[in-house]
């Protein structure tokens, strides 16, 4: 059927706009790309949660779908992708991130000898930020309490068996180990022009930025370092590192003894710091937690 209106068809014909308009929009676009990148929060991440390490438990459960929900609700697990569903609707493989680790699981496949252990079997130790609360949530959802939560000198912990046949040694999170003396723990990239640096490294390496404590300071995601980007003139250009020390006053004395210039001690919510210069004029910070 012909339609006379088909004659109106207009394929895209490029037209150069007014050059002033083109320049103006190019600048607005550049600012928008950099600014909105800056509004990104640090919780927004495009990477898969958890990391497959040297040891990863692969458990068999009696009902993988419900087990996944249970681990999400009780252990604050995060789903890693969609489960692999077999033709007969059983879950052939699923992954969860718990903290920085990965848990893999599947439904039972008795024909392949993949079954839940009727008793015994491996126990998995899991660290949680609130052991009592997680155990309560587990019991509410049908878990069995094998050993009540108590402190036996290693922090609060207990044992549960979930409704899908898996035993868990729940334990309070271990405290973060202190940063050893001499280790760099904060990295500041000092540049004359922060906008120019954001544009360059964003374009070349894909770094992303979040606003920092001052208008020219930016958090950086994508370089694998803890620290930020700091723009403005009058500062030493390049990377400036902050090193951990066990005793700040003693370390400042050593800076002086070895020909450097110790700085004033500053108090911060994250610890005490001093802005120092080494014996060749290179700046660095010292930090004591």
């Amino acid at each position: 059927m012909t339609d006379p209106l088909d004659a109106l068809r207009a394929p895209v014909r490029p037209v150069d706009p007014d050059p002033d308009f083109a320049d103006d929009l190019r600048e607005r676009l550049r600012r928008a790309v950099l600014r909105i990148g800056g509004e990104m929060t640090t919780t927004e991440t495009t990477t898969t949660p958890g990391r497959i390490g040297a040891l990863t438990p692969y458990i068999v459960v009696s009902d993988a779908r419900r087990a996944l929900d249970f681990y999400v609700e009780v252990f604050d697990a995060v789903r890693r992708g969609d489960p692999i569903i077999m033709d007969d609707n059983r879950v052939g493989h699923a992954e969860l991130a718990i903290g920085d680790a990965v848990l893999m699981l599947a439904d039972e496949f008795p024909e392949m000898g993949i079954v839940v252990a009727p008793e015994g079997g491996a126990q998995i130790r899991i660290e949680l930020s609130d052991v009592d609360d997680s155990v309560r949530r587990a019991l509410d959802r049908g878990a069995e309490l094998l050993r009540p939560v108590e402190d036996r000198g290693y922090g609060r912990g207990g044992t549960i068996k979930d409704p899908f046949g898996q035993r868990w040694l729940v334990a309070e999170k271990s405290p973060e180990p202190p940063v050893p003396q001499g280790q760099a723990m904060y990295f500041t990239f000092q540049v004359p022009d922060d906008e120019a640096a954001k544009s360059f490294y964003g374009g070349v390496l894909g770094w992303r930025y979040s606003p920092g404590s001052t208008p020219t300071a930016w958090g950086v995601e994508g370089n694998g370092l803890q620290g930020g980007l700091w723009g403005g003139s009058g500062r030493q250009v390049g990377w400036k590192l902050m090193y951990a020390v066990d005793d700040l006053e003693a370390a400042l004395q050593r800076v002086r003894d070895f020909g450097g210039r110790p700085g004033e001690v500053e108090q911060h919510p994250y610890g005490r710091t001093a802005d120092c210069v080494d014996n060749q004029g290179i700046e660095f910070w010292l930090w004591q937690s």
Partner: protein, 167 residues
């Protein structure tokens, strides 16, 4: 880590700009409006391309963004016109196989109400299928077909009237 896709917009800008601007200018007929919508397209693309599941940044994708900006523009326009529009709408549906005078047809199209102009542009200038037109307009296929019928009738009435007057 996935690199920020918005940086692709910066590198694509020089080649995509004339395409996007050309697309919009041919459809809205005003330089000022085309510039405004071109700006909205590129600036809106920054956050759109960062959404998860967004396709890779390309000129074709930007034309799609421009199409939505154009529809938004007509929607705003339609709200302003609504008070002025005649209640009567032509409903003719008998076959029509006249050969159109392209120049006259463009003039007629520009004289129609924004809602008719939008649906005819997407269907005929862009050559979209009716379900795709419905998608861009955010209407059901059924409602889009009905709108298209009314728009064609309005176009035809205006085309005849204008043709007679100009002869």
């Amino acid at each position: 880590m996935r690199p920020d896709p918005a940086f692709a917009l910066l590198s694509l800008y020089e080649t995509a700009l004339p395409e996007v601007y050309g697309y919009l200018l041919a459809r809205c007929g005003s330089r000022a409006v085309a510039e405004e919508l071109t700006s909205e397209t590129f600036l809106g693309a920054v956050s759109a391309c960062r959404k998860t599941g967004s396709p890779p940044v390309s000129t074709g994708w930007l034309i799609g963004v421009a199409r939505h900006k154009l529809v938004d523009h007509w929607r705003r326009h339609e709200r302003e016109e609504r008070g002025l529009r005649l209640v009567h709408e032509a409903e003719a549906v008998d076959p029509w196989d006249e050969e159109l005078d392209a120049l006259l047809a463009r003039e007629v199209l520009a004289s129609l109400g924004a809602h008719h102009r939008a649906v005819l542009t997407l269907r005929y200038l862009d050559g979209l299928r009716v379900p795709d037109v419905a998608d861009v307009l955010g209407r059901t296929v059924h409602a889009t077909e009905a709108l298209l019928t009314r728009a064609k009738a309005a176009f035809r009435a205006a085309y005849r009237e204008k043709g007679v007057r100009d002869d």
